[in-house]
């Protein structure tokens, strides 16, 4: 499905509110950009497009994008009074590229675990990125994953079943 095929009226109430909130934020930041929304059964993807470079909105390691996502989520939840679908904010396909890289890293690590029999500990990541690692790594047969440690240093361990470290 192409994003430009989606018109706002096809979005759920949550999707419309989330899109409007992000558009309002960009407007008040005086950043000339528009927001396209794509709604799927389990998530809503808001994509920022602009003639300007979006580096400033993405931030170091995507931190500004993450901040916008947290805020759009919190405001949308407050307005709809329900948890609703997962909301993702993207700019210039940044998330898509990062997610593809993460998946690749996770699969490589999982294959290494199968080959060597030794578990691999990934670097600390936020919940969103850990979820991507969990999903990609467990696609490799005979692999299991656990998260351990405290936020914001929580990390995924990729290992063989029965090798799981104790999270304490």
């Amino acid at each position: 499905m192409i994003m430009s095929d989606i018109i706002p009226s096809q979005l759920s109430e949550q999707g419309q509110i989330a899109r409007k909130v992000l558009q309002d934020i960009l407007w008040k930041m005086e950043f000339p950009a528009s927001v396209e929304a794509e709604e799927m059964p389990e998530q809503i993807i808001l994509s920022i497009t602009s003639d300007e470079s979006l580096g400033l909105l993405i931030g170091k390691g995507g931190q500004t994008l993450n901040a916008m996502e947290s805020i759009v989520r919190a405001i949308t939840q407050h307005k709809t009074k329900e948890y609703g679908k997962r909301i993702t904010v993207d700019a210039e396909g940044y998330r898509q590229r990062q997610d593809a890289r993460l998946e690749e890293m996770a699969r490589e690590a999982a294959n290494r675990v199968i080959e060597t029999g030794e578990s691999v500990m990934m670097e600390p990541m936020n919940a969103r990125d850990r979820r991507i690692v969990h999903m990609a790594a467990t696609e490799v047969e005979g692999i299991t994953t656990v998260s351990m440690g405290e936020e914001p240093y929580r990390r995924v361990v990729i290992c063989l079943p029965g090798q799981e470290p104790v999270d304490r």
Partner: protein, 80 residues
């Protein structure tokens, strides 16, 4: 900048009448203290300070567009 901050805070809290935003403008920086109803402080700070940090990062990015450094602090409305 204040309009952006006001919009964000208004959208997060229940007691919108209790919002008070104090602004002090320097040459290269702007500092804000946001006062909200005591019942709403948790909403603007969030679990582990998640929302407060996100607000600070977003305001910093908005400030960078205007070449300003932005500081934001959150507090409960002392009169309530």
């Amino acid at each position: 900048m204040k309009a952006l901050l006001h919009y964000l805070i208004t959208s997060l809290v229940d007691n919108q009448d209790a919002i008070d935003i104090r602004e002090s403008i320097g040459q290269r920086n702007i500092a804000y203290v946001v006062y909200v109803h005591p019942d709403d402080l948790g909403k603007v700070i969030g679990k582990n300070g998640r929302i407060a940090n996100a607000l600070r990062i977003l305001l910093r990015a908005a400030g960078a567009i205007q070449d300003k450094t932005i500081w934001v602090d959150f507090n409960r409305q002392p009169s309530l």
